[in-house]
């Protein structure tokens, strides 16, 4: 009936999907919140640390350093869309500043995040200091757009 290869493939797919299912179910609220914080602090924060000094004229435009920050951001933020399940509004131990509006107004949340994403992609195309300086403020405004509506104020 099935060749050895076919059987092996099917078993593999099954094992993978079960594994993925377990992995998905194992994503507790605390894990999701931790992942969100890591993406914020290390991912977005890293880009800010590389970009803001350029904006303020304290550092020169350095495409390699920026690229490294973007890559780090991608690595730590790539599963972003998986971290907002309805059961992640509160953690067991992890504190979160996420506001209920994220879940009561998911379309607004997606739109705000999308606005940031578009600006971010546009900034990454910058090839020199002038085009970078022109593109970056829209990214920061994207951060603000989300933080104003969907993040509780920080102490």
């Amino acid at each position: 009936m099935f060749s050895k290869l076919q059987f092996g493939l099917m078993a593999g797919v099954l094992a993978l999907s079960v594994g993925a299912g377990v992995a998905f179910a194992a994503m507790s609220a605390d894990d999701a919140i931790k992942a969100r914080k890591a993406c914020m602090k290390m991912g977005h924060g890293g880009v800010m640390k590389a970009a803001v000094p350029v904006m303020k004229g304290e550092a020169k435009f350095d495409p390699a350093a920026l690229k490294a920050a973007f890559d780090a951001e991608d690595a730590v933020c790539k599963d972003w869309s998986m971290w907002w399940g309805a059961d992640t509004q509160k953690g067991d131990k992890e504190e979160t500043h996420a506001l209920p509006a994220i879940w009561t107004d998911p379309k607004g949340f997606e739109a705000a995040a999308g606005k940031w994403y578009a600006a971010d992609q546009n900034m990454r195309k910058a090839t020199d200091e002038a085009s970078f300086k022109a593109a970056f403020p829209a990214v920061g405004d994207g951060c603000k757009g989300c933080h104003e509506k969907f993040r509780a104020p920080l102490q």
Binding site: L99, G140, K144, A152, L154, Q155
Partner: protein, 299 residues
């Protein structure tokens, strides 16, 4: 039993009668308007310091020009219910067009509507009390110079609003008993300018100073932050901003006001601060320097 009930009813009526008598509104008395030419530029500056547009924004359905004007009606959700801040444009029927300066002044500095009723202190007249009369006059002139928008805002959706407006007389008797802001001759001119903008028109303490049981600003904990008035989260303290490594120095704080999160100042967003920052970014740099000098002196 019956007799007890009668006494109880009588007492209740008496109590209500006393409440009614004590809380009867004081009429707004006309005063001579100041004889001077209004400075519209200064009025606009105060409009931005106060961030009037943030609450008096045009509600849904108003577009184009009106959307950028303080035409009112955008719902403001508060713990006591939903408020609909009024139209501040000079439309004679639905805005301030038929208001006299002394009526505007009574609203700004005494929390009195021109019909004599008490205004809900979501409108921060406790801070505006400290504004100089000439600044109130310039702000009024600026509002009257805006394009007129016809927009009848809905009535506030607050349970027992009429009784509450009367009861506010007690609240005001205590809340407005504190002295208004006074300059400090031992400090620099720019420190005093900053202190005035922060404590008067800027009304920063309305959120950054916690409130006591009676919802009154607790002067003993000035600028120490506390629970956010609109619900979730904490309003940050404004004390020792440099020592706590929030800002490097005065220039850094000025840059934060000017650029906000578009330069990565992430504490300038959330909880309404983003809008405040947008409004403050329109101020002249000298005033932002003054505000920052004052804020960084708070320990």
């Amino acid at each position: 039993m019956r007799r007890k009930l009668q006494i109880l009813v009588a007492l209740a009526l008496l109590g209500f009668g006393a409440f009614w008598a004590v809380t009867t509104p004081t009429p707004v008395m006309p005063e001579m308007p100041p004889v001077r030419t209004a400075n519209l530029e200064n009025g606009k500056l105060l409009f931005n310091v106060g961030g009037c547009i943030s609450c008096h924004k045009a509600g849904e359905g108003l577009t184009d020009v009106a959307a950028g004007l303080p035409a009112g009606g955008k719902p403001l959700k508060t713990p006591i219910g939903t408020l609909y801040p009024p139209n501040l444009t000079p439309d004679p029927e639905t805005g301030l067009g038929s208001w006299k300066f002394y009526e505007f002044e009574a609203a700004m500095q005494q929390g009195l509507h021109r019909d004599g009723s008490n205004l809900i202190p979501a409108f921060p007249y406790g801070s505006y009390r400290s504004m100089k009369p000439e600044d109130v006059a310039d702000l009024f002139a600026y509002l009257q110079s805006l394009p007129s928008v016809k927009n009848q805002v809905p009535p506030h959706d607050v349970f027992g609003l009429k009784i509450m407006r009367r009861g506010l007389k007690f609240w005001k008797a205590r809340a407005l008993a504190n002295p208004v802001w006074q300059p400090d001759a031992s400090k620099s001119e720019s420190w005093n300018r900053g202190a005035y903008l922060v404590n008067g028109p800027g009304h920063c303490q309305e959120c950054h100073t916690p409130r006591d049981l009676f919802m009154m600003s607790d002067a003993s904990r000035a600028f120490m932050g506390g629970p956010h008035p609109e619900g979730k989260g904490t309003v940050p303290s404004l004390l020792r901003l440099v020592e706590r490594k929030r800002y490097k120095d005065q220039a850094d704080l000025v840059s934060a006001f000017q650029n906000g999160e578009s330069f990565g100042y992430e504490h300038m967003s959330s909880g309404g601060m983003g809008e405040v920052q947008t409004n403050l970014s329109k101020l002249p740099e000298a005033d932002l320097n003054a505000i920052s000098e004052y804020l960084l002196s708070l320990k």
